[in-house]
Each structure stands twice: as C-alpha cells, then as structure tokens.
C-alpha cells in the first residue's frame, strides 16, 4: 500500500465531504478545520481542495451576513 498516496486521498475525501450548515457558528467551526489543514499541509492537491472548500464556506458566510469573518479568512488565504 502506498501510505502517502492513501493519506492524501483520504484528506481530500474528508475535505470534500464537509457540510457547512446554515448558521455563522456552524460555518465558522468547520472553516477552522479546513483552514488548519490548509495552513499545515504541503501537498498541492490537498491545498487545492482546502482552498476550494474555504471559498465555499466564505460564500456561505457572506450570504449569512458575516462579511467581516469572510474577509478575515480571505486575507488568511492570500497570506
């Protein structure tokens, strides 16, 4: 078994499966998890999956009216 490949595939699968919910609190809690992996992982495929999911969460936050939180996460992605 290729453990490294297996690890990457599992991370991407987990990230893609995230459902943010419909409250600012729920979305923020899940975004923290995605941001954690985004910041510590060094595989480009994992980072890409995280980035895609982060923008999905940011869009929901904006719809829920939390522009400040959305902007904060957007800025972290750009850093």
């Amino acid at each position: 078994m290729d453990l490294a490949k297996d690890e990457i595939e599992r991370k991407i699968k987990d990230i893609n499966a995230i459902e943010f919910g419909d409250s600012v609190e729920d979305v923020s809690s899940s975004l923290l998890i995605v941001m954690t992996l985004f910041e510590i992982d060094d595989d480009p495929r994992v980072i890409k999956a995280c980035k895609y999911k982060l923008f999905e969460g940011i869009a929901i936050l904006k719809k829920l009216g939390d522009e400040a939180k959305a902007k904060e996460i957007e800025n972290k992605i750009k850093e």
Partner: protein, 139 residues
C-alpha cells in the same frame, strides 16, 4: 507498522460532557484490545484526537469514528509511521483545552505529562509536527 493518526472534527451541540465521558469509557474499554493509545482533546466546538498503534487498526478505527453522530466534518490531518509511541501508557487520555492551564484527569507518567504540557505551552518545538498543531488548533 506502528503509526499515528490525527483528525479534527466539529463537536455537535448535542454532544454533552456526559457523552464525552461515554466516549472515553468506550476508548478505555476497547483500545487496549487493539493496542491503541492516544489522546482526545476537546473544546466546546471541536475535537482533536491523536491515535497511535498498528496502521491497519488505527485506520479502521478512524473510519468507524467518522460515523459517530456526536461529531461531524471529520478531517484527517496527518497519518504515517512513527518509531515509538508518545503516550505509551495512555489508552485514551482526555483534556478539555484552555490556553493557560492544563490539568490532567488521567493516569500518565511524569514524562508524558511533561511532553504534553510542553506541547500545549509551546515550549516543545522539536517534537512531532502533528502534536504541535494541537496548540495551534485550539489557540
């Protein structure tokens, strides 16, 4: 192959402290049979679990944990081989995290307690990468 696995997840509102006690009881009952050790950290909104044991055993346990409805959005942070266990005497320790103070409710050796305390306080900068994220995640 001795390995470790770290995941994080969102604690559901329905998951009370009593439910966490049940989780820990199940860990203490089942993990010794699988030769799995580790630590479960939790806040009001998140879980972070560090598992160590045979790769197949901890991978199988992880897939089972993912189906537990006391949490959601379970994400694998890291997994891979390790040379030795970090918490060899800990069938599943636990701690509700606060930044400033860590008090252990479980039996562990002085060396393990010091390792953990150093990680939480940020003093241990040479150890395992996955353990360092414990502090980062709960900050």
């Amino acid at each position: 192959m001795l390995s470790h696995l770290v995941y994080v997840s969102v604690r559901k509102k329905e998951c009370t402290d009593e439910e966490i006690d049940k989780i820990l009881s199940a860990c203490k009952r089942n993990n010794p049979k699988l030769d799995i050790t580790g630590v479960l950290l939790y806040s009001k909104t998140h879980f972070l679990q560090y598992l160590e044991g045979d790769y197949k055993e901890i991978s199988g346990l992880y897939e089972k944990i993912k189906t537990d409805d006391r949490h959601k959005n379970v994400v694998l942070i890291t997994t891979g081989p390790i040379e030795e266990r970090t918490f060899p005497s800990w069938e599943m320790g636990s701690k509700e995290i606060s930044e400033d103070k860590v008090e252990f409710q479980t039996d562990l050796t002085e060396a393990e307690a010091k390792t953990f305390q150093d990680i939480i306080s940020g003093k241990n900068q040479e150890g395992n990468k996955s353990l360092h994220l414990i502090k980062k995640f709960f900050k």
